[in-house]
């Protein structure tokens, strides 16, 4: 065997707690401009949490703080039981193999093909994996993220916006992470593509048991796939809960957000879908009787 086992890097043990992400008293400011002030957030294991808020309320800054790209002024952040805020440099954050991140524009490496993009994290963390297996893994990840097989050998410049997002998702999933961060995954997709992407995320989350942190403006996404929604306003998370729970609150922004014309349309769409499911099950239940 050409790879001695001593070369294998130490892996952080599997996370057992209930809250893979815990944010306490987060303060972020750029010069005098305060983005977050005393922000708290807990993300439960195995849920899809949607983060909403008006433009400029710091949704992306919150995500960047959690993944260690933005050093907050104050507060503590724990991800999978490790403190991100106490990490002195990048090397201290040793849980990178357990999260996957989809940036807004995909952020694919432009000089590599889609398959090679997916292979980058595999090479970086698991050099002992043979080239053959690495290619196989890249191939099925790309297909799993809903791209056709011939997309694997394409360069990012040759892909459409929606395909870039899928390729970005494939790279985010490369290491079978426990945590998935998605920054506006459906923004810029057509409604059919967006719905398919929602289904894909839900499907992957159920199959792989992921915890998903999802920033979105897409009300359909919120209704369709999010277990809970966190609302960012006034520099804090003002509420976290299911959409019915949020609707029961008397906050003007939340009311306007979910009861505006778009919010109602999304809700109606979901109601219709639920009704048709009920109808279908009723049909299924009654039809054998009629036959008799």
């Amino acid at each position: 065997m050409d790879h001695s086992e001593a070369r294998l890097a130490d892996m952080p043990e599997e996370f057992e707690g209930d809250y893979p992400i815990r944010v306490r008293g987060l303060v972020n400011r750029f010069d005098d401009h305060v983005i977050h002030e005393g922000l708290d957030l807990d993300v439960k294991r195995g849920e899809i949490i949607g983060v909403v808020g008006g433009s400029g309320t710091g949704k992306s800054v919150l995500m960047r703080s959690i993944i260690g790209l933005q050093i907050p002024a104050e507060g503590s952040i724990e991800v999978l039981g490790r403190s991100i805020t106490d990490a002195r440099d990048d090397e201290d954050i040793d849980i990178r193999s357990q999260w996957g991140i989809l940036f807004q524009g995909g952020a694919l490496f432009s000089t590599l093909t889609v398959a090679e993009n997916v292979e980058v994290p595999l090479r970086e963390f698991y050099p002992e994996i043979s080239e053959e297996l690495r290619h196989e893994i890249a191939r099925y990840k790309v297909l799993l993220s809903g791209l056709p097989a011939n997309a694997t050998s394409k360069y990012p410049a040759e892909l459409s916006g929606g395909m870039k997002k899928r390729a970005g998702l494939a790279r985010a999933l490369a290491l079978d992470p426990e945590l998935l961060f998605l920054d506006e995954p459906t923004a810029g997709l057509d409604p059919i593509g967006a719905a398919a992407f929602d289904n894909l995320i839900r499907g992957l989350q159920e199959t792989l048991g992921l915890t998903v942190f999802l920033i979105t403006h897409d009300l359909d996404t919120l209704y369709e796939i999010c277990d809970r929604v966190a609302v960012l306003a006034d520099r804090k998370v003002i509420a976290v809960g299911t959409i019915p729970e949020l609707l029961a609150l008397d906050h003007p922004w939340i009311q306007e957000y979910f009861n505006g014309p778009r919010g109602r349309a999304a809700k109606d769409a979901q109601d219709r879908e639920a009704a048709s499911v009920v109808q279908a099950t009723q049909d299924a239940a009654t039809s054998p009787m009629e036959q008799e």
């Binding site: 432009s110 000089t111 590599l112 994996i129 191939r139 990840k141 297909l143 799993l144």
Partner: protein, 393 residues
């Protein structure tokens, strides 16, 4: 496409992430065949991406007849584990047994992706075809590139014509801003460089001329050389490195971020708004910088003369007036706008050609600078012959 950015990401890491205590690894045992059935391959340990790298190499070597793959003792499974189990079951034509629900779901999800096994590598020709292929492409690219540069120059000239007819569309502010960037901000470095080159020419010239007892001709040497050739040539090279590269990188990045396209849709011509101010600014500033450079070169020579040749500073300067014919100044000044045009044109042209990725911005910028400097030097040789022929020797 081979490139540095690419190699940095796909090359094997020389220092993989720090080795530490052992992590749990997957393993397997093979129970030999009994009776008519094949053997049983039994997995144990976690079957996840971090534990499978080594075991996969051994699995590929398995060639016994296997009829069942037992995953009862597997603690954890992720998609990589599911993939390996699935691949093995297909390859050995074996059944997967004792599979828990979640593992079963994963294997099912993976099996759905396994319908067509196309090659995921970008297709690559064999070497014997690739070399002539690349050479042919290069030759065509050079020819096409030449035509495109001429076309680009034509675009700039026709944009100039439009501006002359509609002077209100002229972007004066952009021009002044570029003149500041190209000219004023370069004063320090061009001045320092010219002064030092003047010192070196005077010192080296004096050493050689001393052998004939003709040190006094150091003044002629410094005066004529800097005004005719060196001042403008070195300035053009410096401006190509400072501003030509900046043009290319700026415009290239703007192309990538679709700013140029946005401009076009708003009805602003990128040639008028971006290219023309840069070309004009460089054409205006380069002769001025060249003259300034010559003056600083002469001052450098005079400085050395007064320090080590015993020629007083002011005498050196007044001798310059006597020994340097006025057409030497014109020679330098005439070349300025031409070199400026070449430097700015190369930078803007290469920048506007960027299409695909960040890497291209880098290679385009490099070729803008190389092309500009090369063309400037070739043209300078032509100018030298030309001016001598017309009697400005």
């Amino acid at each position: 496409m081979r490139s540095a950015a690419r190699e940095a990401l796909v090359a094997p890491s020389i220092f993989p992430h720090e080795a530490g205590s052992m992590r749990a690894l997957a393993d397997f045992t093979i129970e030999p065949a009994q009776g008519g059935d094949g053997g049983v391959l039994r997995f144990s340990g976690p079957m996840v991406v971090s534990s499978l790298g080594l075991v996969d190499r051994r699995l590929r070597a398995v060639n016994e007849a296997i009829s069942e793959i037992d995953v009862r003792d597997v603690e954890r499974m992720d998609t990589v584990g599911a993939w390996i189990v699935w691949r093995l079951s297909q390859q050995l034509d074996a059944k997967i047994v004792n599979c828990r629900d979640e593992a079963d779901r994963l294997i099912k999800a993976i099996s759905e992706t396994d319908e067509n096994r196309e090659n995921i590598r970008a297709p690559r020709l064999p070497l014997i075809q690739r070399v002539p292929d690349e050479v042919g492409k290069l030759v065509i690219a050079i020819a096409v590139g030449f035509l495109q540069v001429v076309g680009f120059l034509g675009q700039a000239i026709s944009a100039m014509g439009t501006i002359v007819r509609h002077p209100r569309r002229f972007r004066g502010l952009a021009l002044v801003h570029q003149m500041e960037l190209v000219g004023v901000n370069a004063l320090g470095i061009v001045g320092l460089m010219s002064f030092l080159v003047g010192v070196v020419i005077a010192q080296q010239g004096a050493v050689q001329l001393q052998q004939f007892g003709a040190e006094i001709y150091t003044i002629n040497l410094v005066g004529r050389l800097t005004l005719r050739e060196l001042g403008i040539l070195m300035t053009a090279i410096m401006v190509a490195g400072r501003s030509g590269s900046a043009f290319s990188a700026q415009l290239g990045t703007m192309k990538l971020t679709e700013e140029v396209d946005a401009m076009r849709t708003i009805g602003v011509s990128p040639t008028e708004a971006l290219v023309l101010p840069r070309i004009l600014a460089t054409m205006i500033m380069l002769p001025l910088l060249g003259l300034y450079s010559s003056v600083l070169g002469i001052i450098g020579g005079a400085f050395l003369g007064s320090v080590s040749l015993g020629i007083p500073f002011l005498t050196f300067l007044s001798r310059i007036q006597e020994v340097v014919p006025i057409h030497d100044v014109w020679v330098g000044l005439v070349k300025g706008p031409v070199f400026g045009l070449i430097v700015a044109l190369a930078g803007c042209y290469q920048g506007m050609q960027v299409k695909t990725n960040a890497e291209e911005v880098g290679t385009r910028t490099t070729s803008a600078v190389v092309l500009a400097i090369f063309t400037v030097i070739v043209l300078d040789a032509f100018f030298a012959v030309f001016f001598t022929k017309i009697g400005w020797g």
